[in-house]
């Protein structure tokens, strides 16, 4: 028998009922007590484990630079972020880009456009194009995860910006990586997909551009975004190459994976 059967029993039990993260949560709590926070350690943690949901938003904000590493600056910087949000919102209202019936995701889009200096003239605002649709999907997904609108806007903005800056060049190559990955891991599946012509029909370019927003159930999406926010876009290939994800899509279940969890470690 092991030295501490009680403890082992507990760990095994936790794992079985899905509380695998008890130990992980403790180690994250220790990391979060650091001042300044160690971004590298937080990224590594987030790469290896799914973030406990109670700390997820805070860790994302730190990793995306919305909050600085120094915890004693959080109140000051948080206040600046809120003012910036309110200033932009107010101006868009006065200029009549938005009103009380504008959906929040469209408000976030206009705010983002204002800040990126790509806001079209009010009279020239047309139906959202493809790029806007990608932004809106990410917004809708983020809104499901984050309640506070100030946090939500900042997370969307910094997530989208970071995604484009960091992975913009890699995204076009991801379909090739997916094929390579499948040829290594699932050669039979790849052959089947190729021969049946299904591979060409998979909307993986959409999955990659939107980082799976709107394509995965929320709980899986959060885990994928943990990895993306902490610096890896390879996860997008692994999730796309997940046979269950592919199967779901080929079966015509839209959005794919609605019925079960994608295993994202």
């Amino acid at each position: 028998m092991a030295d501490d059967p009680q403890r082992n029993f507990r760990s095994a039990y936790y794992e079985k009922v899905g509380f695998r993260g008890v130990e992980e949560k403790k180690s994250l709590e220790i990391l979060l007590k650091d001042n300044p926070l160690d971004l590298e350690k937080l990224s590594t943690f987030s790469q290896r484990f799914p973030l406990p949901s109670m700390y997820r938003i805070h860790v994302w904000k730190v990793l995306l630079g919305i909050l600085p590493p120094h915890s004693d600056s959080h109140a000051l910087v948080g206040g600046y972020r809120k003012e910036q949000y309110q200033d932009i919102l107010e101006a868009l209202e006065v200029m009549r880009y938005i009103n009380s019936s504008t959906p929040s995701t469209h408000i976030y889009l206009r705010m983002f456009q204002l800040e990126s200096q790509i806001l079209p003239r009010c009279s020239e605002t047309s139906a959202p194009d493809e790029e806007n649709e990608d932004f809106l999907s990410v917004s809708r997904a983020m809104e499901e995860i984050v309640d506070d609108p100030v946090d939500c806007y900042w997370l969307i903005k910094c997530f989208v910006n970071q995604f484009h800056t960091k992975f913009g060049d890699s995204i076009p190559h991801l379909p090739k990586s997916l094929e390579h990955y499948l040829s290594q891991e699932e050669p039979r599946l790849l052959n089947h997909l190729k021969n049946s012509g299904a591979l060409a029909q998979l909307p993986y370019s959409l999955w990659f551009r939107r980082c799976f927003a709107g394509c995965l159930p929320e709980s899986s999406l959060q885990r994928v975004w943990d990895k993306v926010i902490s610096g890896s876009c390879k996860i997008l290939v692994f999730v796309s190459g997940d046979p269950a994800q592919l199967q779901d899509h080929l079966d015509g279940h839209q959005p794919a994976g609605r019925h079960r969890q994608v295993s994202v470690q």
Binding site: P36, P69, H70, Q84, I88, A91, M95, E115
Partner: protein
């Protein structure tokens, strides 16, 4: 430790600056909007009494 203090100050300054930049963009947009609205008002003004009130004047 000194680096640490500098780093903290830098990130606070960046956040404050980003707030300023947003505000700058806002006033640029407002100015464009105002100019366009004025030119629209003025184009239509000659036919009306409106021209008696100078541009930029109160309503």
């Amino acid at each position: 430790f000194l680096e640490d203090v500098k780093c903290q100050a830098r990130s606070e300054l960046q956040a404050s600056d980003s707030r300023y930049q947003a505000q700058r963009r806002i006033s640029q947009l407002l100015q464009t909007e105002l100019l366009q609205l004025y030119s629209r008002v003025e184009m239509e003004a000659p036919a009306r009494t409106l021209c008696s009130s100078p541009p930029g004047g109160r309503a």
